[in-house]
């Protein structure tokens, strides 16, 4: 069975500084990896995904993520944080041949301080 770990419940970053939200995964075979963001009282919004190819994936709102197969990680990054980036971020994995839904991490609260 696949699993996703987000080791930090909360990440605090000053506005304008770079941010990283960590994610590691466990899955048989080559994974499909996703990041979603959830704003208060809203559903999840897709940010980016890794399927194959270039290990650095670019997504919405200036976010990017780096796939590292040897470390089984898929950390979310942004060079310069905005206060509006404050939200709950979820990493998710989908095994390549499964008909099941996504397996999500527990989520990380990102707080950007002005």
């Amino acid at each position: 069975a696949q699993s996703v770990a987000q080791p930090e419940d909360q990440v605090n970053v000053a506005e304008g500084n770079p941010l990283t939200v960590k994610c590691t995964y466990s899955v048989s075979g080559n994974p499909y990896l996703f990041w979603y963001v959830q704003y208060p009282n809203r559903g999840l919004q897709f940010l980016l995904k890794y399927i194959t190819g270039d290990n650095l994936v670019k997504g919405s709102y200036g976010f990017e993520a780096e796939f590292n197969k040897s470390q089984t990680s898929f950390h979310l990054k942004k060079p310069s944080a905005l206060v509006s980036d404050s939200a709950l971020y979820f990493c998710a994995v989908s095994p390549p041949l499964s008909a099941d839904g996504l397996t999500f991490g527990k989520g990380t609260h990102l707080i950007i301080q002005p």
């Binding site: 499909y32 996703f34 979603y36 009282n41 809203r42 559903g43 999840l44 919004q45 897709f46 995904k49 399927i51 979820f90 989908s94 095994p95 390549p96 041949l97 499964s98 008909a99 099941d100 839904g101 996504l102 397996t103 999500f104 991490g105 527990k106 989520g107």
Partner: protein
């Protein structure tokens, strides 16, 4: 175009009552998913529909939960004899073809409170 819609947005019910939650996916999306989001369990996958095919129900938490999808479009999630531990936000998502690398588009959710 419209996104995934869910109704009701909030539902408060008494323990032991039955509830029905509705999901209307994005037009043209063949795959539909139900998830449950709660403080204790995080985001849990419940069930997946691909078109009109019969779903795999093994992810449903108990036999009080059932789901159907009529005409390959609208889906309802039914919880019978609700319990307090059923209190959660129920999220619906759809994707274009149901391929595992397709991103899913989520609705705003139904917040269920069982008193």
């Amino acid at each position: 175009g419209a996104g995934v819609s869910q109704s009701p947005s909030n539902k408060v019910t008494e323990k032991g009552k039955d509830v029905e939650l509705r999901c209307d996916p994005i037009s043209g999306h063949t795959a539909l998913y139900w998830y449950r989001q709660s403080l204790g369990q995080g985001l849990e996958f419940l069930i997946y529909f691909q078109g009109n095919s019969a779903p795999d129900k093994s992810g449903l938490p108990s036999d009080r939960f059932s789901a159907e999808r009529t005409g390959g479009s609208v889906s309802t999630l039914t919880i019978q004899r609700t319990q307090q531990e059923d209190s959660a936000v129920y999220l619906c998502a759809s994707s274009l073809l149901g391929l595992t690398y397709n991103e899913q588009f989520f609705g705003p959710g139904t917040r269920l409170t069982v008193l």
